[in-house]
Symmetry: C2
Subunit: 155 residues, 2 copies
């Protein structure tokens, strides 16, 4: 229709291309470490929270408790985490890192830092700032539209 519409469409197309590209790259990068996106997300949560129960992980990741069981199963099998009994609640299990799991997270963080450098180091400062400003706006707008990836605290 309008001229604006085609501008918007072009921008949205670029965004979606970026989404696909980064998604693929992330997946591949994690696979080298023996991880999947979901499992890495769980590890990442675990690092921020410290040892915690699967219930907490499920709420934090926004998936069902059953799914967490599966993810932890996988991470235990590959030696990234261990299940330990909860000290005060015998129903619950505490998921904690192994040394290998912690190392994997650190490696992934290094890789991410390196990636950021590759992406932005060559970009003129002004260009970079404009990009970040627009990106921040877009995110704010999305949040305003009710889009959020946090556990639906709609209650």
């Amino acid at each position: 229709m309008s001229d604006d519409d085609s501008r918007f469409r072009g921008a949205l197309d670029r965004i979606l291309e970026l989404v696909v590209l980064l998604n693929d790259d992330m997946t591949q990068s994690l696979a080298k470490e023996g991880l999947t996106v979901s499992r890495a997300t769980l590890l990442w949560t675990l690092m921020q929270r410290g040892p915690c129960t699967q219930r907490v992980l499920a709420d934090d990741l926004g998936v069902s408790a059953r799914t967490v069981t599966g993810l932890v199963d996988g991470l235990v099998a590959t030696g990234f985490v261990v299940r330990e009994p909860h000290p005060s609640d015998r129903r619950a299990t505490l998921v904690t890192f192994t040394e290998r799991g912690a190392a994997a997270i650190r490696a992934q963080e290094r890789a991410q830092g390196e990636f950021g450098r590759q992406l932005f180091a060559e970009m003129p400062r002004e260009r970079f700032d404009g990009f970040v400003a627009g990106l921040t706006d877009v995110l704010a707008t999305l949040h305003g539209l009710g889009l959020t990836h946090r556990p639906t605290v709609t209650s």
Copy 2:
């Protein structure tokens, strides 16, 4: 480490948040139409190419032929496409839209246009342009790093 690093990390974090948000939104939006991301991508390809064989779709989507069989199975079951015999090659099948499939694509395009408007309409022109410029740079850098979602023409 350096000051740049934390700037970069902040930008990368925002990008990744955007990736997650849009991915979720897209998935949800498609689900309302009775579609998944993969199936919609196939329909999208089909629209750009016109009726084509599953082999072509597999190469275009960058997945195995077997996967395309499954996706087309699903789309046939929900009535979005039909399989037709290839006029000259009896091994191959031509995948073509049904009216319903075409309508679903059109609906999705309308939704996307609307979404673009919601995202960008309120953004000052200068901000928008800065964002798109930076985004274009980022994509160029990614392509320069060898990241591409086209069928790995690495051969």
